[in-house]
Amino acid sequence: MKHTLVARVQDQPGVLNRVASLFRRRAFNIDSLTVGQSETPGFSRMTFVVDAARVPARLVEENLRKLIPVADVHDVTHVPTVDRDLALIRVSCAPGERAEIAGLVEIFRGKVVDVASESVIVEVTGDAGKVDGLVELLKPRGLLEMVRTGKVAMVRGAAAGNGNGANGNGNRS
């Protein structure tokens, strides 16, 4: 099963390398990893989607927590979250089909953000399922290029920043 882990890490040289090295050497299977700024200066936020089929997600979490620049880690898989993935998709599109594609994309609350003579670039944001759905619909038309950011997640409701207490591990961070 896929688990979503959210980590707050010190923003310092080599921290991504430490995380990547951990996943590599322990053969943890990673579906996606996103890194970006957090609300605290000096700290970045990482969102991991890991496949816990071979190694329990708890062990991935505990190993991440052992890295010194990692301030805290939370498994938010089983708590309500807002999940988002952004995709840019270049799809074949004859001039006569533009309106049709635009209409299709709009159903997914995406938009056409660039137009060329025989293709368009579509932007869509949403949870992974929604993005997957649009990709499937566009594929038969000729999917020329795609980039996805990977998942970012935030716990819903009043839980502070990193989902403290969401999985009973808040006391260890």
Partner: protein
């Protein structure tokens, strides 16, 4: 006060209580060596940086304090790597300081440049590259704190040459503020309660005690616990000495070369209490059939070890001594005579196969040599072993009564460890009798440190168990590769002459009858001494669980009918 980065290195080490460092100078670390002369820290010049790393490691294992090694950039730094990995796998608190090329040359493939922080990333608990002189003190302060905290380990600090030369106001940080450095958690009351329930129900309980007993200083409370609950104790290799060998509840070593009755007890127990150990593959054998009838309680300071290899019923993630102190008052007095009797029968049966109880028939067995060393020293010595057959015989036939009396590379199994680690151990415990026990193969890997031994005028005694083979590998070839001895016969120098070339008295022993005399002669002569024991060439370590086999599927030594009678 204004100080150079190099001076700050020593100011920091002095404040961390460092009394000795092991190292080798070179271009990129020269400013630090130059500053060293003004500080009250002893420097031990090694013959190869791997030796420095093992010395720092041996010092840490023998003392419980942080061991420190220093090297230059490039080859100096890469030569440390085996020693760093050794310390990592056995959780040894160590700090490695390396010089690097001037910061403006980083990444340019400058002379003797290596990315040592990149290289050591997976084999250190943490590492750091310092290019700003204002960061030197803080980074070293953090390095020592990280090395000691929780489950200890090696930390490497790489300092550019211009950073060592630059000046700044020296300020020693009064505290370490790292968000990722968490204080060890206290034992969870719910976990303790559930553990106590399982302990109360158990009829065939068994304690598996590991290195954590030594690290946390849990010997006394562990014995109190074992006595109160009448629970036998099996030890891992690194746990030896954590419980006195002579204690009636101590069964001895478990695992691949553990005694058959110990492994059999593990397989038949109804409760395993894993205390400060990590269910390494060398102690479990086949995980699918491991201890199938038992509930399991795991007390372990590193949460990432819980459930890694063996699923457990109760986990207490905390310091072992604190956990046992909390557990002791809530467990009831118990008695398991039938269970102890069952184990005792296995122990009696083992006696008939035990080489110690077999006549030597005029041959010199390594196991007999090691047992005689124990008799000569009455076990009152710090023994530092290398890796291989002699290491296992030592574990079986040298009875350790005290923590930190055995120093050995368990996790990484590093040949060449013994001699340099013993030098480090002697600095940590100058009043202890320190013995190296090494095979002829491993000893040759780091024998250059004989010169260090002599230069430092250290009283370290050396027993080379010389069988002309890479013995443990030969044994695997004998058992599993149809006796095809590929690259295991090994030529050695004349170790007696070699020792003498370094100014160290050397002796040779070829008969059992000569062992005690030679050992006593070396013991009575102050300063280093070496004995070359020419032992049986094709002897095997018994019993043995083949790698990945069921723990009770052991290859046993044939029964000796004379002993049976």
């Amino acid at each position: 006060m204004i100080r150079t980065g190099a001076q700050i290195v020593w100011e920091s080490l002095v404040r961390e209580g460092v009394e000795v460092v092991f190292g080798y100078p070179g271009g990129a670390i020269l400013p630090t060596y130059d500053a060293m002369l003004d500080y009250p820290i002893r420097h031990v010049l090694v013959r190869h940086e791997q030796g420095a790393a093992h010395m720092a490691d041996g010092y840490a294992r023998a003392s419980g304090r942080v061991g420190v090694a220093i090297a230059t950039s490039g080859p100096g730094a890469t030569n440390l790597v085996t020693g760093i990995a050794t310390a990592m796998l056995d959780s040894i608190p160590t700090v490695f300081i390396t010089g690097n090329v001037p910061s403006k040359l980083l990444g340019s493939d400058a002379f003797q440049e290596t990315d040592i922080t990149g290289i050591t990333l997976p084999i250190t608990k943490h590492n750091a590259l310092v290019t700003d002189v204002r960061e030197v003190a803080r980074t070293l302060r953090e390095a020592f704190a990280i090395a000691r905290a929780g489950r200890p380990g090696p930390v490497l600090v790489d300092i550019c040459k211009d950073t060592q030369q630059a000046k700044t106001e020296f300020e020693w940080p009064d505290r370490v503020d790292l968000p990722g450095l968490r204080p060890a958690p206290f034992p969870d009351p719910l976990g303790l309660e559930r553990a106590a329930e399982l302990i109360a129900k158990a009829e065939r309980p068994l304690i598996l005690a590991g290195h954590g007993v030594l690290r946390s200083g849990a010997t006394r409370v562990l014995l109190d616990f074992a006595e109160r609950t009448d629970t036998p104790i099996a030890l891992t290799l690194l746990g030896l000495g954590g419980v006195p060998a002579s204690h009636p509840l101590n069964l001895g070593m478990m695992g691949m070369h553990g005694e058959a009755y110990v492994n059999s007890a593990i397989q038949h127990a109804d409760l395993l209490l894993a205390f400060g150990m990590r269910f390494d593959d060398r102690v479990t054998g086949n995980l699918a059939t491991y201890a199938p009838h038992s509930k399991k309680i795991h007390v372990e300071i590193d949460p990432s070890e819980v459930g890694k290899n063996v699923a457990v019923d109760v986990a207490i993630v905390a310091d072992l001594r604190l956990s046992l102190e909390a557990l002791l008052p809530v467990v009831a007095q118990a008695s398991h005579p039938a269970w102890r009797e069952e184990i005792g029968r296995g122990k009696a049966e083992t006696r008939t196969r035990d080489i110690i109880h077999q006549p030597d028939g005029g041959r010199l067995y390594a196991a007999h040599v090691i047992h005689d060393l124990w008799r000569a020293t009455r076990g009152d010595a710090v023994v530092v072993t290398d890796v291989g057959q002699h290491q296992m015989w030592e574990a079986q036939y040298f009875a350790h009564e005290a923590p930190r009396s055995l120093i050995t590379s368990g996790g990484l199994g590093t040949m060449g460890f013994a001699l340099p680690a013993a030098i480090g151990a002697k600095f940590a415990r100058p009043d202890a009798e320190v013995w190296v026990i090494a095979g002829d193969g491993g000893f040759q890997m780091t024998q250059a440190e004989l010169a260090t031994l002599q230069q430092e005028q250290l009283d370290v005694k050396i027993a080379v168990v010389n069988n002309g083979y890479l013995g443990m590998v030969r044994q695997w070839q004998e058992f599993f590769y149809d006796k095809r001895y590929a690259a295991t016969p090994i030529l050695s120098p004349d170790f007696v002459k070699l020792a003498e070339a370094y100014g160290i008295p050397g002796h040779r022993v070829t008969q059992r009858a000569e062992v005690m005399d030679a050992v006593n002669r070396v013991r009575e002569t102050p300063g280093p001494g070496l004995i070359d024991f020419r032992v049986e060439k094709e002897e095997a370590v018994y019993p043995m669980v083949p790698a990945g086999a069921n723990l009770d599927a052991m290859i046993r030594r044939p029964v000796n009918e004379e002993v049976r009678a």
